[in-house]
């Protein structure tokens, strides 16, 4: 068997917000890594071997050892490279608990609701739209008047949620609402995050995401 490859590799899929969390975290820490784009219709042996349980991206390989699940990867990056600033999670246990709670909230709610918003029609879509607005307003409220979710510093919750800002345009079009109008603080936060190198470099333009959803819909035979 070949020797384990040294350094960091990220098995990922270009538009995945979950993968983008990892890319942003790595860039925030200034950690060089090899990006390996995966074909999700024809999964590589490396992916299947590295994540046999879920067979999903993202997977971070560190000296050949896999870490799976995006938020677990982000915490791993923060802990394995604790010497590199910035710290993505705060030092205080209560602040850490708050950060984990809100990252978990984003995980439980945003992607699933967003998917229902573009996949479904009629009443079900209306319901998804209502839910998405509730979710965004809850997050807007959690952000409050803070610069970032963690306060002054860009951190764990920001990393967890910022990839979805590239999906806001799509949510707006499918849901027929405006994030700027409904959640102005969140809209301002999204702009602020977009000014960071790690974010600007790793998110795709919202129109590209919208186009991707169009391709997915065709693939699933949805009009």
């Amino acid at each position: 068997m070949a020797a384990e490859k040294k350094g960091l590799q990220l098995l990922d899929f270009w538009v995945s917000p979950f993968g983008q969390r990892c890319r942003i975290a790595l860039d925030e820490k200034g950690l060089p890594y090899e990006y390996l784009e995966q074909d999700l219709d024809n999964k590589s042996e490396l992916l299947l071997r590295s994540n046999p349980v879920h067979k999903k991206i993202p997977v971070l390989l560190h000296d050949g050892r896999p870490v799976c699940e995006s938020l677990i990867i982000v915490q791993y990056i923060d802990e394995a490279f604790a010497g590199k600033s910035p710290a993505l999670l705060p030092a205080d246990p209560y602040a850490r608990a708050q950060a984990r709670f809100w990252a978990d909230y984003v995980d439980k709610k945003v992607y699933d609701c967003g998917t229902r918003l573009w996949k479904l029609k009629g009443d079900a879509q209306q319901q998804a739209c209502k839910e998405m607005l509730e979710i965004l307003k809850t997050l807007d409220s959690a952000l409050g008047d803070g610069k970032f979710f963690g306060g002054e510093q860009f951190g764990f919750v920001d990393v967890a949620f910022v990839p979805f800002t590239a999906w806001f345009l799509s949510y707006e079009r499918y849901g027929k609402f405006s994030v700027e109008k409904e959640c102005p603080r969140l809209a301002a936060w999204a702009k602020r995050c977009g000014e960071r190198d790690s974010v600007a470099k790793n998110l795709y333009p919202p129109e590209k995401v919208y186009e991707f959803i169009g391709v997915l819909k065709k693939k699933f035979g949805i009009e």
């Binding site: 349980v53 560190h62 050892r65 870490v67 799976c68 699940e69 677990i72 990867i73 915490q75 791993y76 802990e79 394995a80 246990p93 209560y94 850490r96 608990a97 984990r100 709670f101 978990d104 909230y105 809850t138």
Partner: protein, 236 residues
Amino acid sequence: MASGGELQLLGSWISPYVIRAKVALGLKGLSYEYFEEDLFSKSDLLVKSNPVHKKVPVLIHGGRPVCESLVVVQYVDEAWAGTGSPLLPGDAHDRATARFWAAFIDDKFFVAWRELFRSTTDEQRAEAFKNVVPQVETLEQAFEECSKGKAFFGGDAIGLADIALGSFLVWIQVVDEVSGTKLLDEAKFPGLAAWAERFLAVDAVKEAMPDAGKLLEHYKGFLAKLASPAAPTSYS
């Protein structure tokens, strides 16, 4: 007894998620005031402390709430880092592994097992059981890899994955009794079967678990309601 500020736990005696919080608090030797919630008639304190999900457990420490069972367990571990044995290992990769299995237990194992829990007919039970066994097979392998021959997923001492899975054990036994199944069969899953016995023998765990007889009666009542149309059936 160590406390470092007033501690309150909002819970429900039947909730495995609350059991997780109780086990963590017990392992750290922490005393707390426990409030039993009626999940069909939630207290103002619960709604105020967990406005987002309105669920238990909620740990309130010095007036500040912590919500979501795995967040609570990690909070207890970090806020009382000097006390007792750490619930997460020191090595970053091992920590990632512990978190991975805790997430798997919630996202895959529980979701599959819940179908068995909700089954009211033998046909449903057979189908549900068939679907949960592969998750248990994965966990048996996970146990072998994580424990490395020691007593728990966490090694010599109980860790996050032990707490995540162990919190379901009395429920698993109760559902097995009604379904006529044996999920953690020692012939098929010797590692997990032996682990379960060890886990249930730990003092902090014994104190946190509901009485199996009481839980069985409760479950039978739940199934009766489920089989008949009208009443609310979800615990949230």
